[in-house]
């Protein structure tokens, strides 16, 4: 049994958003395979409101690197510890058996050399899968500059792997994480994409990183605008087939002359997640979301901001508007849009119906008509005023809603995506085995028909 002290050190050094550990605080999500439920599962919630799904821990926090933002960097004076692969495997099993966790999220600081570290990570997951026949979810962080053979070997056992890009440009990375380079992060990512494709060619069955790859970007430690970040994410989804990009607002845990001393507001991170959502599930392009060189406006959510930039598209009539357009209405989400398209097949809807269907009209009413009736503000200026952040009480609540752990996700799909996917395809069933990288596709893969989409609404999948 691992000692309490060691567990404490390795957990605490894994919890910071800026270190080798993280991939989006608490939003990190299983989407398990094997015996894990297809929907990610929260096993507990900590007083900071985050979900505990996986045992998130470092194998070691002894680091030879010195990323300037990281509390575990080589020259920092913090308590150090390393666990053995056996200790980690045993801990995972005993936690899993008691239903404390859904699986393991294992990472490590770079101890001694990249290869040494990668070998030990590999040893831990191999123990779990072969000796202990563990079928729960495993997310493994890749170590940059480790031997390619070790990386492919590890991918045989893990459900998901991630290399964190950390900073949106090479220049920023050089400055803040001098021992890493964009290439040292991108090249194993590309290698895994290629190997996964080859594996699929050769094998009809079996798994190779079934939950794909993810990455993380630290927001606000370097000067890049949001437009840059959103474009990078778009490229990562399209070209690399990533399942998720996580954004982590920079929190100064370390004093450094090159780093900002003030934390970046959670709001910016929140806006980026909203933008990411629009990219993945709502059919928006990066260009539509954030014009070149600009940041996402803080006072409106990105969908609202787009709608305000494009008043010629509104209002839309809920009884006739195509699904793609309903999805672009501020305040109407995937579930809402889906409910509308279902319900209007039986009867024309008025505002009362929408209310009863629990569709929130606060923002939406400025952009829709029901049977030709409009209840929104008279002119554009009034709409803007009503929608801006200060004017709304609900933003704080919304933010916490948005932070909701993605309990529905399977390798990146979420309930909105699932429903949207099924609905857009009008129940066209099996895009068999589809799902690497293209928008909506994991959703389609999850769901066959309209009926099952509805089952997702009313019951478990």
């Amino acid at each position: 049994m691992i000692s309490e002290e060691k567990l404490k050190i390795l957990t605490e050094s894994a919890k910071y958003d800026v270190s080798c550990s993280s991939s989006g605080s608490g939003r990190t999500n299983g989407g398990g395979m094997g015996n894990a439920a297809p929907a990610g599962c929260c096993h507990s919630f900590t007083p900071d409101g985050r979900c505990i799904s996986l045992l998130k821990i470092l194998l070691s926090n002894r680091c030879i690197y010195s990323c300037r933002y990281c509390p575990n960097r080589a020259d920092a004076d913090v308590p150090r510890a390393s666990a053995t692969p056996e200790e980690i495997a045993e801990l995972t099993l005993d936690f899993y058996k008691r239903n404390y966790i859904e699986g393991l999220f294992l990472s490590s600081a770079v101890e001694k050399t990249p290869d040494f570290t990668m070998e030990r990570l590999l040893a831990a997951v191999r123990l779990l899968r072969t000796k202990y026949r563990f079928h729960g979810y495993i997310h493994l962080k890749g170590i940059p500059r480790a031997d390619a053979g070790l990386v492919s070997e590890a991918a045989k056992y893990a459900d998901r792997m991630s290399y964190n890009l950390e900073l949106p440009t090479e220049a920023s990375l050089k400055l803040l994480a001098p021992q890493k380079s964009t290439e040292s992060l991108l090249s194993p990512m590309r290698q895994l994409v290629k190997e996964k494709a080859e594996f699929k060619e050769e094998h009809k069955k079996g798994h190779f990183l079934p939950a794909g790859q993810t990455t993380q970007l630290i927001v606000g430690a370097s000067p890049e605008p949001d437009s840059r970040i959103v474009r990078l994410s778009e490229a990562l989804y399209h070209k690399m087939g990533l399942k998720r990009v996580y954004y982590s607002s920079y929190v100064p845990v370390v004093q450094d002359s090159l780093l900002p001393t003030l934390p970046v507001g959670q709001l910016r991170e929140h806006r980026l997640y909203q933008a990411d959502w629009l990219l993945r599930f709502y059919g928006f392009t990066a260009e539509e979301i954030a014009p070149e060189g600009e940041n996402l406006p803080l006072e409106y959510d990105p969908k609202c901001a787009w709608a305000l930039r494009n008043p010629q598209c509104f209002p839309v009539e809920v009884n006739t508007a195509p699904l793609e357009m309903l999805l672009r209405v501020p305040g109407i989400g995937g579930r809402g849009a889906y409910k509308i398209t279902e319900a209007r097949r039986y009867a024309a809807l008025d505002f009362g119906d929408l209310k009863r269907m629990r569709i929130v009209l606060k923002r939406a009413k400025h952009f829709i008509t029901c049977k030709g009736k409009y209840l929104g503000a008279k002119d554009e200026r009034a709409v803007k005023g009503l929608l801006a952040l200060g004017a709304r009480q609900d933003e704080a609540r919304q933010m916490s809603l948005f932070d909701e752990p993605e309990r529905w996700s399977l390798g990146g799909a979420d309930s909105a995506g699932v429903l949207v996917g099924a609905a857009i395809l009008g129940g066209a069933g099996s895009a068999g085995g589809a799902g690497e990288g293209r928008m909506l596709s994991p959703a389609v893969w999850l769901l066959g028909t309209r009926e099952t989409a509805l089952a997702a609404l009313t019951g478990e999948l």
Binding site: M1, I2, E4, L7, K8, T11, E12, A14, K15, S25, N35, A36, A37, A39, C41, C42, H43, S44, F45, T46, P47, D48, G49, R50, C51, I52, S53, L55, K56, L91, D94, F95, K97, R98, N99, Y100, E102, K339, E342, A343, R345, Y346, A347, L349, D353, R356, M357, S400, D403, E404, P405, R407, E451, L454, A455, L457, T458, G459, E460
Partner: protein, 237 residues
């Protein structure tokens, strides 16, 4: 008229057949007998089976929904199920898309609550290991779902016998390694294994170490993990 049912599917379907021509029918569980005239329904498995087949023809998914609705712990859940199935019978097909219809809406909400709790409990259940190696978890869910949860854990931990104890309904779902069954269970005495304490302590250590105290958001935590569920969770003991 008021019809009293025993909460089983057969009982419900028998009551449905008795009540469905009655404009003012109200279906209640037996233990909620009001003052005044009521009809007590005796389940008739044969007729219930016929109704079941007919409903399956009308809507392939509605019997599964009925199963879930009958598990619902809300007041009035049997009536909700009745109104929903009545609409299916009247319209002669699935109605679950009619989300602006009050009866459909009510059923959808009840179904969602049951599904939501099943989802939550899959995470919140806490097993302790007994001296014999079997796992034991007490719980007190709002809805009657232990057997559904048991199927989930049976798939997940096929090699570990376990007892899922619904202390509110005084029954348990038991997996003995070969069979899954329900049994009445008032109180359980469990001898813990030698290591159990140690693992529980490690879990508590982990739980407090992952927390970031400077970002405390207790309201949000309460929303996701309501206080009533914490009673049996190791990290809150």
């Amino acid at each position: 008229m008021i019809y009293l049912t025993d909460g089983t599917r057969d009982g419900f379907l028998t009551a449905f057949l008795a009540a469905w021509g009655d404009e003012e029918a109200v279906l209640l569980p037996k233990n909620k007998r009001p003052l005044g005239p009521c009809v007590e329904i005796v389940p008739d498995p044969k007729r219930a089976q016929k109704a079941l087949c007919r409903f399956r023809e009308l809507d392939g998914g509605c019997m599964r929904e009925l199963d879930r609705l009958l598990r619902c712990g809300d007041e009035g859940h049997i009536q909700t199920a009745f109104r929903y199935l009545l609409l299916i019978a009247k319209r002669g097909g699935p109605v679950r898309g009619m989300l602006s219809h009050p009866d459909v809406l009510k059923a959808e909400q009840a179904l969602r609550r049951v599904a939501h709790e099943i989802d939550r409990m899959k995470g919140f259940v806490r097993f302790s290991e007994s001296a014999s190696g079997a796992l034991y978890a007490p719980l007190s869910p709002d809805n009657d779902i232990v057997d559904i949860l048991a199927r989930h854990f049976q798939k997940r931990l096929p090699e570990y016998p376990f007892v899922l104890h619904d202390v509110k309904r005084k029954k348990a779902a038991v997996w003995d390694g070969e069979h899954l069954f329900l049994a009445p269970l008032e109180k359980a005495e469990v001898m813990l294994s030698a290591d159990e304490d140690g693992w529980q302590t490690l879990w508590k250590t982990y739980y407090s170490a992952v927390n970031i105290p400077s970002r405390e958001r207790l309201r949000q935590q309460r929303g996701y993990l309501p206080v009533r569920y914490r009673k049996f969770m190791t990290e809150f003991q």
